[in-house]
Subunit: 361 residues, 2 copies
C-alpha cells in the first residue's frame, strides 16, 4: 500500500481524526533506547504514562526493560492486571482510597513508591499492612525542577531514616528527575545524600533517573541504577526540537481532514484542542507539524477546529485532503483516545486499546 492508499483506508475505516501508531517505528525506538541503557549499564524502567498500553509495555519488556514506571495507581492497576509484577509509582500516594488500592497492588506485585514528605511517608504503612508485605519507598529529590521532591540533602536523609523506621516500609533509595543542564549539581546532591544514609546504616539499592531528554545524559550520574523514560516510545515535536528524535523516529501521527478552505491563505482541520490538545510543548510555534505541508502552521484551535495558516505554504491542501500531524507533545494526545490504529509502514495491522486512559486516579 502507498501512503496515499493508507490515508484513504484509515479515513474509510475509522474516519478522522485518527491517532495512528507505526509499530515498526515503535520497535526501532524500543531497541535503540534499550541498547543505550545497556551500554550505560543502567536498567531500563520505561514510563508507561506515554502509551498507557500493556501491549506496548510488553514490547519494552521483551527488549529487556526491567520493571515499569507509572504515574498513578490506575496505570499501575492496568499494568498489574496484564501481569507486570515490578512497578515503580513515581508519585506521592495520599489518602485512604489510594493507600487501599496500593495495598491491593502490593499483594500481587513488587511495588515501589516515591515520597517527598513525612506526611506522605506516614500514610504508607497502611498500604503495607493491607498488602501483607513490605513496601519499597524511594525518596524523591528535586535538584532544580521545582516540582515534587525534597530540596535539601538534610531532608532527603531525614526522610530516608523516617521511612526505615516505619513498620512495613523499606527505604529503597533515591528518585531523581534532574533538569538536563544540572548534572553536576545532581551528582553532588546524590553523593551527599548517599553518604548521609550510609552513615545511618542504610543502603540505597535504587538510584533512579528519569526523562527522555535525559537519555542524552545516560551514564552522567555516577551510581544511577536505572532510568525512566516515557516519550521516546513515540516521540514528538518536543523531542525533535531537543535533537533526540528525527521525523522518522516519530511513531505517532494524527490523521486529520481539511474540512474548509474559506479563504486562499487559510483552512480548517478536523482536529482541534479536543484531539491535539492545547499543549504548546514548551513554546513550540504552531500546534503540530503537518508532514505533507511543513510550511502550513496550525496557528490556533477551537475544540474541533485546527486553524491552518497557509500563507507561507506554496503547495496548499485542498478540502477533503487527509494529512498526518506530528503532535507537539505526544503523551497528552495519547491520553485523549481510547484506542489507536496500529500500522506497520503502510499496512493497517489492527486497533489497539489505550487501556489505562481514563484511569483518572
Amino acid at each position: 500500500m502507498t501512503v496515499a492508499a493508507l490515508k484513504a483506508e484509515i479515513a474509510r475505516r475509522f474516519g478522522t481524526p485518527a491517532v495512528v501508531v507505526d509499530l515498526d517505528v515503535v520497535e526501532r525506538n524500543v531497541a535503540r533506547i534499550q541498547a543505550m541503557c545497556d551500554a550505560a549499564g543502567v536498567a531500563n524502567r520505561p514510563h508507561v504514562k506515554t502509551h498507557k498500553s500493556p501491549a506496548v509495555a510488553a514490547m519494552q519488556r521483551a527488549a529487556g526493560a526491567r520493571g515499569l514506571t507509572c504515574q498513578k495507581i490506575g496505570e499501575a492497576e492496568v499494568m498489574a492486571d496484564a501481569g507486570f509484577d515490578d512497578i515503580l509509582i513515581t508519585y506521592n500516594i495520599l489518602g485512604e482510597q489510594k493507600l487501599g488500592r496500593l495495598g491491593a497492588l502490593l499483594s500481587r506485585a513488587k511495588m515501589t513508591v516515591a515520597a517527598d514528605s513525612p506526611t506522605v511517608v506516614a500514610g504508607l504503612p497502611e498500604a503495607a499492612r493491607i498488602g501483607g508485605r513490605d513496601l519499597d519507598v524511594v525518596v524523591e529529590c528535586d535538584t532544580g525542577r521545582k516540582r515534587a521532591g525534597v530540596e535539601t540533602v538534610a531532608e532527603a536523609v531525614a526522610l530516608a531514616k523516617d521511612i526505615a523506621s516505619r513498620p512495613g516500609l523499606s527505604f529503597a533509595g533515591f528518585m531523581l528527575y534532574p533538569p538536563e543542564d544540572r548534572m553536576a549539581e545532581t551528582q553532588r546532591f546524590l553523593d551527599e545524600a548517599l553518604a548521609g544514609v550510609r552513615e545511618a546504616g542504610l543502603d540505597a539499592r535504587i538510584i533512579s533517573t528519569g526523562g527522555t531528554p535525559n537519555l542524552a545524559n545516560l551514564g552522567a550520574i555516577k551510581g544511577a541504577t536505572e532510568h525512566r523514560a516515557g516519550t521516546y516510545i513515540y516521540n514528538d515535536r518536543m523531542m525533535m526540537r531537543a535533537g533526540l528524535a528525527t521525523e522518522a523516529d516519530c511513531a505517532l501521527t494524527v490523521y486529520a481532514t481539511v474540512v474548509s478552505r474559506a479563504a486562499p491563505d487559510r483552512g480548517i482541520l478536523d482536529s482541534g484542542s479536543k484531539t491535539l490538545t492545547s499543549d504548546t510543548g514548551g513554546g513550540l510555534d504552531g500546534h503540530g507539524l503537518i508532514l505533507e505541508h511543513p510550511q502550513a502552521k496550525i496557528a490556533r484551535f477551537a475544540e474541533e477546529h485546527g486553524f491552518l495558516d497557509l500563507s507561507a505554504c506554496n503547495d496548499r491542501p485542498q478540502i477533503g485532503d487527509v494529512v498526518r500531524i506530528v503532535p507537539n507533545h505526544v503523551c497528552v494526545v495519547v491520553n485523549m483516545v481510547d484506542s489507536f490504529v496500529a500500522v506497520r509502514g503502510d499496512e493497517i495491522v489492527g486497533e489497539w486499546p489505550v487501556a489505562a486512559r481514563g484511569r483518572l486516579t
Copy 2:
C-alpha cells in the same frame, strides 16, 4: 453534609482528581438560559459539546430546548441513541465513512448539517440517499471569526442555490457564529444573504446564531430563529471573565489533592495537563481558580502535576488538603473524563457517564 465532609467523601469514594458537577447549579443555568431564549423569541438549541451527556441534554429538553446541536457525527449518534430526534451538526461532513453514518442517522432522526463549500455540498446527497429522505442543509457564514463559513454574501447565496439544486438536499437557512462585537456587520451580511436567496425563490427557515458569549446579544440579530449555546450549562473561568457567570454559576469543579509542599511558597496538585488541560481560556492568568485559595496560582503543569505558586497566598493549603478548581475552559475538561460525580449542593447523588466522550469522529 458540609463542604468539608463532601470533599472527604469524594476523595474516599472516588479519589482525586475528580470532576464534580452540581446538578442544582446545572438546573439553574438551564432555566436561566431557557428563559432568556424565550424572552428573546428564539428557540434554544443547546450545544452538547460541553456536556456530551444525554442525561444533561434531557434536562435542557425538559426545560424547553428545541433540538440539539452537535459538533461531530459521534456526538449525534449518542444523542440519537438516547432518543433525541432533531439534531443540527454544525460542521462540514466529508468522506464516505461519515456520509454513511450521517445517512444512518437521517433514517432515524431529523438531521440538519452545515456546509461552507461546494465540495462539502457535493458529498451530502449520498447521505440523503442512504437515509431515504431529505437532508436539511444550512450555509455556514463567517462574519469575522475566520473559522469555517463562507466569507461573502455572494458565496452564501450561490451555495444555497447549489444545495437547493441537489437531489435529496433541502436548503434550510443560514448558520452564524458571529464575533461578539460584530453584530451590525453580521446583520448586514444576513439581510443581504436573505434577500439573495429570496430572489432565487428560496426560503430560509432557520437562522441559527451561536455561542454562550452571544447570549448577551440574544435578540440582536433580527430574523434569528434559534440560538446554540454550550458552555453555559456548566460555565467556567472564561465565562466569569466575560461577565456571563459568577462563581455560583460554575457547576463543574475539579477536586484535587495537594500532594507536595516542597517549599514554603509553592506546592503540587494532583491535577495536571491530563486533567485540567493546557487550555488557557484565551490568555487567562493561571490554569484554574482554586475556590479555597483564590490567591494561589496554578502557574504551570506537568502531565499529572499542577504547580502551585503560593507566594501571594496568606492561607496556604497543606499536604493532603482537597481543593476545588473552576477550570479555565470547562468543555475540554469534560472531554477528559468518562464520568463525573453528580452532586446536589453538598450531597453526592451518583456517577454520571460522559457518554459521547471518546467519540473522536
